[in-house]
Amino acid sequence: MNKLIKISFLLDGRMFSVETKSDRRLLDILREDAGITGVREGCGEGECGACSIFFNGRLANSCCIPAIAAEGAEIDTIDGFSKTEEYSIISQAFADAGAVQCGFCTPGFIMASAALLRENPRPTDNEIKIGLSGNLCRCTGYTMIIEAVRLASGRMARNV
């Protein structure tokens, strides 16, 4: 019953294939098979958002996605995203706002911030809180992270 399946998906713009079990976590495939360790495992329960990725363009917790769901999907991780202009603006805003301390949660927060700003380029503070509600930070608290998203939002608007 535990047959392997061959799963293929677009990973950071390139085709990626792996032989794995249908219920393996996408998070484990990304970290162990693709070697993308910027996708973090925090809680493993869908609560902390450290494993956030874009799944077909939408924010998703990779610890909650079974391998079979990834077949044919378009998956973008912090690895691919870090080569974009969007990333430069958001990561600089995080640095400037002092929104990074230990950094463990930061890739997830950056992905969630990017997903929010794509859908809502000028979010209110409350909308930022909702957009980042699936991500936990245990170092900085959230004030500086919210400030970082505000900063990034303003800088993106000026860049257009």
């Binding site: 799963i7 032989e19 976590r25 869908g46 799944f55 917790n61 769901a69 077949e71 909702i130």
Partner: protein
Amino acid sequence: MSDKLFSAGTLLPATIEEASSLIMQGFFPVGGGTDIMVRNHAMKKTGGRVKSPLFSCRRIEETTGIHTNGNILSIGSSCTLSSIIESSLCPAILAESLLSIASPGIRNIATLAGNICNASPAADSLPVLYILDAMIETAGSSGRRSIPVKEFITAPGTTSLKDDEIVVSVSFDSSICHDDAFRWYFRKVGTRAANALSKLSIAACTLVDNGIYSNFRLAVGACAPAVVRLSEAEDEINGKALDKGSELAERVIPVYTKALNPIDDQRSTSDYRRNTALKLIANLLSEGF
């Protein structure tokens, strides 16, 4: 069975027949799979029973999309919570309850059908589906069934889904939600706004014509083994004036008190759940929506 390579396509069936056949071979169907993945991960640590292997129903055409047929709104079982929330066809009361589930990254993957099939007494979509008299459409090798949600869920964690069946869609008459006289209420009480399972939840809706209640419906989640909806209390309210809310509350609160039978668990206590649910109901009636 051999460990030879399976094609992913085999586990992405396009028809109900193929899905039934996979279930009979021991595969578990998933919508988004978010809850099974968390449970499986926990089970692997404790040595409990893991649901594996999995297959996805998302390529079965009739499980996709949100459609209307006359007044009936039908939501495919592969539709994510986000896609339902974002649909212009989704009534605001349902959108509100779905927005209270988990967080954006989970709502982009998880499905309404998954929330129903988990059959948790604390599932946030259920009170709304109960008051909308939702039907669960299933299909399997023995044919198709259309089951009222309250009959579909038979006990905590248990449904009447047969072994070879999958949920195809969830449907309900949404015309009441578009009536100018329609009013609704949804309130989830949890530890925090995101990623918290409910301590309790309440959904209610009604038509108010010339200050008079009709079609009043109210359901309480996480306060008994199943969602509580009481026709006795609803009958008491229908036909009465909205501005007599305090008197109505006095009359129906004892009815709800008798029916609520919450448990103590890690999220809350029985007393807190019962008291808060009753106060929210009394408040809703006194304030008159």
